[in-house]
Amino acid sequence: MQAILFYIFAALTLAGAIGVVASRNIVRAAVQLLIALLGVAALYFLLGAEFLAAVQLVIYVGGTLVLIIFGVMLTARASLRTLHPTGGERAAAFASAILLLAALVTSVVTTRFIDSPAPANRYDGIQRLGQDLLGDYLLPFELSSLLLLAVMIGAAYLAKKRPQAKGEPR
């Protein structure tokens, strides 16, 4: 049963991911990304990582994807809605994709996966996670939130209205 579901969700994820790459319409690509992300969330669920699945939904689907679509809608010029990549862009995309693939494959091959038994208590996972995040790993946690704060201030600064320079087109 688990195996059947795994293959269904994996196929769904793959189909969504291929759709993202193949689609020329940027909003459709976003929707296919949604399918891929939901597939990954379902896979987390199958593994018993409910917290991770919910985080996947709330951050990637509810946050990032909405922002992508929102950004497209705000900047919706006809030239941006459909993608016509140039040769140079294609080459760069291929290069980065192959680099990423190589990195992922090597990391999968070199990692030794250990069979860990499911936690006896169903609260174990989330309690450990909370205590680790706000206990042992407090410094990295705070540093990353500092980084996010800096990004937010930077974005607010960029978005601020500035007096227009002479001759600059509005």
Partner: protein, 429 residues
């Protein structure tokens, strides 16, 4: 439908419900378990979602009628209760229109993307001591918030793919409103979680058993205030008035669903009323003691009922608990309607201002207070006990006062109605 299948099947081992065990023996094989789950989802929950939509729309029109001094629907069935059925038949027989220049695939997909997340959120709700579908979901509360945040994508896509300026404006308003109000919503839930110490919906409703003085809303003064913050934020995230800017009909025709007709339009309505119900249910579980009655009789009874035979008593206690839960959630839905027909609609910049500059700092201060309270006030200490009783008294006084005001308004309304229906006196200025 795609996602629905995913979610329904995502955790097949979870449905070791009492009733399954009682009906089919201790260890039913997986085909039976899966069939049972699918039956519950597609028969039980789909029926629940339809009934919630059905009664919700009828109640909304009745409430609106009452508040606006008219009758509301009163032709179809007794007190017009079958009006939604008539509307449903009309919507099903309507033509499924697709505007020219619209993105067909996205336009057809969007209503499902709006409805399915709300439906999936319903699955996690514990409706009674044994009426629980997702029994092993340790992060149930977080899961509901997460899946509800997917709904916005359906609305945005509906607005964008319609190829209509008003729809796109509605979708954009929805996006910025929802993203902003998700923050106070999440933080006010966090306040309760700090007080309760769990994200598990089942544990949350069980820990408040035994009478309303045990309810979390009376646990701390900060949680009482968080209830208000959560209520306002839930109005905004459900696009209910006064935050119904995504579909404000005086400016945007009908906002994001302007171009929809027939069955797809009705899916948006179903999603809206079920989202209201889900919010009411979350508030009932988080603050108002879940399925227990205010005096704690049901939880005491449920603890005594034997769980090893399928008895009438077991069915009765679950039925009563379900009824109590529905009454609580229904009351909150009623207050949402009452607010909708009472308050005027602010502008979008005022809505965002209220969220980011008022509600966000407020909820952060409350979170800090709640954390400090849990740190310094012992459970079962005398301070805690006194607080609970004082807050309970305040809460009951507030409810009583509201009822008095309502009763007075009702009587005055009658008098004024009589005065207005007399012929006007001319002259004599």
């Amino acid at each position: 439908m795609l996602i629905l299948g995913q979610l329904a099947a995502s955790d097949p081992s979870s449905a070791g419900t009492t009733f399954l065990r009682l009906l089919f023996g201790d260890a039913p094989g997986w085909p039976l378990r899966v069939a049972w789950d699918l039956a519950i989802v597609f028969v039980g929950f789909l029926a629940l979602a339809s009934v919630v939509g059905f009664l919700g729309i009828w109640a909304e029109r009745k409430v609106a009628g009452r508040i606006q001094h008219r009758h509301g629907p009163n032709r179809v069935g007794p007190i017009g209760i079958l009006q939604s059925l008539a509307d449903g038949i009309k919507l099903v027989t309507k033509e499924d229109l697709l505007p020219r220049g619209a993105d067909g695939w996205l336009f057809r997909l969007a209503p499902y993307l709006a409805f399915v997340p709300v439906f999936a959120a319903l699955l996690a709700i514990p409706f009674g001591p044994d009426l629980i579908f997702e029994r092993t979901l340790a992060v149930g509360l977080f899961w509901m918030l997460a899946i509800l945040s997917v709904e916005v994508i359906g609305v945005i896509l509906a607005g964008w793919s319609s190829n209509n300026k008003w729809s796109t404006y509605g979708a954009m308003r929805e996006a910025c409103q929802l993203i902003s109000y998700e923050i106070p919503l999440g933080i006010s839930i966090l306040i309760v979680v700090v007080a309760a110490g769990t994200l598990d919906l089942v544990a949350l409703s069980e820990m408040q058993a035994g009478g309303m003085w045990n309810w979390l809303i009376f646990h701390q003064p900060f949680v009482l205030l968080a209830f208000a913050v959560f209520f306002v934020a839930s109005l905004a995230s459900n696009k209910r008035a006064p935050f119904d800017l995504p579909e404000s009909e005086s400016e945007l025709v009908a906002g994001y669903h302007t171009e929809y007709s027939g069955l797809r339009f009705s899916l948006f309505y179903l999603a809206e009323y079920n989202a209201m119900f889900v919010m009411g249910a979350i508030m009932a579980i988080l603050f108002l003691g879940g399925w227990d009655d205010p005096l704690g009789y049901l939880s005491a009874w449920s603890a005594r009922v034997p769980r090893d035979v399928l008895s009438l008593e077991l069915l009765a206690v679950n039925g009563l608990a379900f009824a109590a839960f529905m009454v609580k959630a229904g009351l909150i839905v009623f207050i949402q309607m009452w607010v909708r027909w009472t308050l005027p609609r602010p502008r979008i910049d005022q809505v965002l201002h209220a969220c980011i500059k008022v509600m966000l700092p407020m909820s952060l201060v409350l979170l800090l207070g709640s954390a400090l309270w849990e740190l310094f006030v012992q459970r079962n200490s005398i301070v805690q006990q006194i607080t609970q009783w004082v807050l309970l008294a305040i809460g009951l006084a507030f409810v009583g006062f509201t009822f008095l005001v309502l009763a007075q308004a009702f009587i005055q309304g009658r008098v004024r109605h009589q005065r207005l229906s007399e012929p006007a006196r001319l002259g004599n200025a």
